[in-house]
């Protein structure tokens, strides 16, 4: 989490213009004012072009502004200035992962971890990389290592919850999210992670409440908004049965195909088991009606949302 900005930190001045620019760029980056951070870093670099810290702040601001090509150039220059600096390797790893060059990203983060093996942030970055590439079990171990190094890091608790949710271990995910919230009840990511865990646990109303809270704490976050909209869809009565059906299917190997197979076997065996044809026919009709509902549920929901659009402003009980 970014440190809270103190006005004094912005006001402090030293004789060295590069040092001033570095302090300001770092502060602006901490509070996600990346344009200002870039301006300060460039000003500092004009005075001290070989300053690796300033180059780092420049690359960091460009990363924050999602100017990938310029960030890449800045990070390459940074690595040329400080090839064994874990922060530079970490930043380059994040850039490579963003571009989809995962093999190189892993090489970079492993190089960084060899230099700074006790850095929680590096384990967290490596965990993010493993999560992105579908190595969830390793991601959990890496996040756990990060948590062991820094137990107060709320992000790690929340990320553990998210990765456990994607592994469909909703109970464990909820535990991690709650311990994250115990560290900091005002942390949006922890609320979002708890919301995601609640969706996995079959509690869409609680999930919507926590995602709403995450959005209140971080209003501009598109990812939270998307998740809230999804939870809100699950809370609509017309879609609620579909939500529970999907939740059930996600726990059955073979999903809907397994259900179809079971239904077909039951219908095939019904005659030899002496089940009256009327019962079999009713069962088949009910099953087909349910299948029709599952195929049309999204359409029904879309129509319903036109009548009752989602409203983020509504305070929930």
């Amino acid at each position: 989490m970014a440190e809270p900005t103190s006005q004094r930190a912005f006001a402090e001045r030293s004789e060295d213009p590069a040092e001033n620019a570095l302090r300001l760029a770092s502060r602006y980056n901490d509070v996600q004012r990346c344009e200002l951070a870039e301006r300060e870093a460039l000003r500092g670099l004009a005075a001290a072009p070989e300053n690796a810290d300033l180059q780092f702040e420049l690359a960091r601001s460009l990363f924050g502004r999602q100017q990938w090509r310029r960030a890449d150039k800045a990070a390459e220059r940074l690595l040329a200035l400080a090839p064994e600096w874990p922060a530079a390797l970490n930043l380059m790893c994040l850039l490579r992962a963003q571009q989809g060059s995962y093999g190189e990203a892993e090489r970079l983060i492993l190089d960084a971890l060899r230099i700074a093996p006790e850095s929680a942030a590096l384990y967290e970055t490596y965990g993010d990389l493993m999560r992105k590439t579908g190595h969830e079990a390793k991601a959990v171990r890496l996040y756990e290592r990060a948590r062991a190094i820094d137990p107060t890091d709320v992000d790690v608790h929340a990320k553990l919850a998210l990765v456990e949710s994607s592994r469909r271990r909703a109970g464990v995910a909820e535990k991690h999210a709650r311990s994250g919230l115990a560290c900091d009840p005002e942390e949006s990511l922890a609320h979002a992670a708890l919301g995601t865990a609640m969706l996995q646990r079959g509690r869409p109303y609680a999930a919507r409440r926590h995602l709403r809270e995450a959005l209140r704490l971080e209003p501009g976050n598109e990812s939270y908004e998307e998740a809230w909209l999804e939870a809100d869809r699950y809370c609509r009565l017309v879609y609620l049965p579909m939500y529970y059906w999907c939740l059930l299917l996600s726990r059955i190997p073979g999903k809907q195909f397994m259900v179809w197979g079971i239904v077909m076997v039951l219908v095939a065996l019904a005659g030899s088991l002496g089940v009256p044809p009327g019962v079999t026919g009713t069962f088949m009709l009910a099953y087909i009606a349910f299948c029709l509902y599952t195929w049309l549920a999204s359409l029904i929901l879309r129509l319903w949302l036109r009548l009752r659009p989602p409203n983020l402003d509504i305070e929930e009980a």
């Binding site: 994040l94 963003q98 989809g100 230099i115």
Partner: protein, 179 residues
């Protein structure tokens, strides 16, 4: 949900024994780079094509996915595997499918055997889908858009049905209806 990315500034603290940690053993191939991938189809969705189009339709789509991942050997294996399983299914079920009986028992036997082929296709497809899931996840997580399934699946199913009908017709001509 995307978790936030933090650009941290860790300090140097080199340690001698850090290399022995199995957590720090690479899990990805050094050349694993989704920038070279063409858009992929969601491997789990391909199971629909396996169900409706049989093993050949699944094999075609899984093979196309492997090709998009620049894995030509795996693509060739998927195509050949799909074709081989389809041939095997025809060989096993040919006498049942070629039986032109219109009574209820013949009809239910035919639909039962088609269901068995579909279930086996889905089961085999699940194994391949599991193999493709990680690269697909990595692809999607790099903000790449997957390829839509519907038209590709429909195309694969039509090709598979045409091939099955052609082979079954040829077999009927060669071996007769009760071959």
């Amino acid at each position: 949900m995307k978790a936030r990315t933090r650009v941290a500034k860790p300090r140097r603290q080199r340690s001698e024994d850090s290399g022995s940690d199995d957590l720090l053993r690479p899990s990805l191939e050094t050349e694993f780079d989704v920038r070279s991938f063409r858009p992929l189809i969601d491997p789990n969705s391909i199971l629909w094509a396996c169900f409706f189009g049989g093993p050949l339709a699944g094999g075609l789509l899984f093979g196309a996915n492997y090709r998009s991942m620049r894995m030509p050997r795996a693509a060739a294996l998927a195509w050949a595997g799909g074709f081989a399983v389809m041939l095997l299914a025809i060989a096993i079920f040919f006498p049942i499918l070629a039986d032109g009986g219109a009574d209820a028992t013949s009809r239910s036997t035919r639909s039962g055997s088609r269901m068995i082929v579909s279930i086996v296709s889905v089961a085999l497809g699940s194994l391949v889908a599991r193999h493709q899931l990680r690269p697909f996840k990595a692809f999607v997580n790099a903000d790449r858009r997957p390829r839509p399934l519907f038209w590709h699946a429909l195309g694969a199913c039509v090709i598979a049905w045409i091939v099955v009908i052609a082979i079954a017709a040829a077999a009927t001509r060669l071996f007769g209806a009760h071959g």
